[in-house]
Symmetry: D2
Subunit: 164 residues, 4 copies
């Protein structure tokens, strides 16, 4: 689709700021595997899944970008390498998605669902780990590609990002 | 929740810009009933469900607001009374939701789903007519209140908006 | 330039939320004259110059639109007819400008200057009453059209808006 | 002011996308000196002054962030290390400013002026090289700190950023 920007692939990791231990373990592995592949982790910059993904990527020397809702860069978690302060609240979700070549959703509340929907609208692949299932008028809607492990999620995300 | 602004209730009507005849008929009735109740129709300002809802509201002298993705007000459909040009693309979905006291979704593609998710995240009621069903990890998630008619959708939306 | 939207002209009135009595008197007359001309007042929805302009327009039955920085419509001043809640902070200035066919600046702090600059960048006329003068490298820059009265400011703004 | 985020200082370099040779030479030196100081260059990601600043920073191994108006990361100039795609048009100016601890303006058209105004409104230092002079009602307004060389501009910007 010609959306891929210069340099390494960018994979968004999205999920709740207040996450379960299981979600954080999965997100950390997702981030680590993205970093090992030489791709950039893009996220919302705060805690929970976002922080775990950044920690994972940083543990292998990866690059992490946090797109924050507030106007103060210091709200970023400690594993964000580049913090972008938007001051635009939930509208920053649009930027997380626009900056990514593909998206991995780990768990997720309604904010995560908004990012999933925005990514699908933009024609970007969304891989889900324990995340949302979509149906409309009672029929399932293809959209989120389910994965059963962090390894599978990242493998598929990188494939789809490169193909996009 | 103290979110209700001054004056009349504001109800967002969201749905696809390219809609089926059935969806447009439903959206027009939704708009008409909102207008009859003295509430304001808020929408994305373009065609399909958005246009039908505005046409319905205007047919009874109602007020219609279109929050456009582009920077040119003239892109609004002919039944938008107040057109707001954002120039922010999909981020205008955040504004549609923030401006509403409750949301009625008629049908819907992924853009509509993003608005549903943003509204639920903001704690606002979403009433669905032939719209999305949400589930996570295989279990249904309360969120979109299903309605079986335009009349029911508007009645519930107004109740929830007033109670919010 | 084909930017003019459907229906009446839209004139933004911009200026500080904490304004002097002189600025408020001028802004109220600006709003009143816009309303008398059948045009819509667009503003940032808060106090000071914004509130005075809305009060003036409402006093003659005019239409007023407030584009708010916060996510709560109830922050609008009492004379805003249509309040749009953006939740995007200063980025709402971009929307005020995009929605207007021409801009009248009354006084103004740095926020007002950002709106003046955005309007000039978009090729829209800006009329200034006791507002900013622009120069670059020591030389004046044509941009803000100075007016010496509210009457002159509105007359020029309507002319330029119609011509744009 | 507690606005400084984690890690290195972030300095925005703002200026026209279509710049003179003199402006590009100055911007490249500004970028190089920011990079030599271990600070991050933040910019709008496109050509002219933005590209020159990134090229300067990259020439000494510095970090460069481009906040793009469009939704496609590939529009970034070749010297942007981290490209953020916003899809929000001019509203991305708000993000450039929010992400910076201080701002250096090199030359500048109206878009640059909007960033200067937004930065001053946010209480951030703006250092100007051949840039805008501000006055209101005929009297100069303190705001842009004039510098006469790239070296001076960066020295003052780093001082102010650290002090903020």
């Amino acid at each position: 689709m010609g959306m891929t920007g210069p340099g390494p692939l960018h994979i968004a990791v999205i999920g709740p700021g207040h996450a379960t231990v299981e979600e954080c373990v999965a997100a950390e592995e997702v981030g680590r595997r993205i970093g090992e592949a030489g791709a950039v982790v893009v996220c919302g910059g705060l805690g929970g899944v976002m922080e775990a993904a950044c920690r994972g990527a940083k543990s292998v020397g990866g690059t992490t970008v946090g797109i924050l809702p507030g106007a103060d860069r210091s709200a970023a978690n400690d594993h964000v390498g580049i913090a972008v302060a938007t001051g635009m609240g939930e509208a920053r979700n649009v930027i997380v998605v626009a900056t990514a070549d593909a998206v991995v959703a780990v768990g997720g509340e309604f904010g995560t669902l908004s990012e999933i929907a925005l990514a699908l609208r933009a024609g970007k692949a969304v891989i889900g780990l324990h995340s949302w299932d979509l149906s409309r008028r009672g029929a399932p809607v293809d959209g989120v590609v389910p994965a059963t492990s962090a390894e599978e999620a990242v493998t598929v995300a990188l494939e789809r990002a490169g193909a996009s």
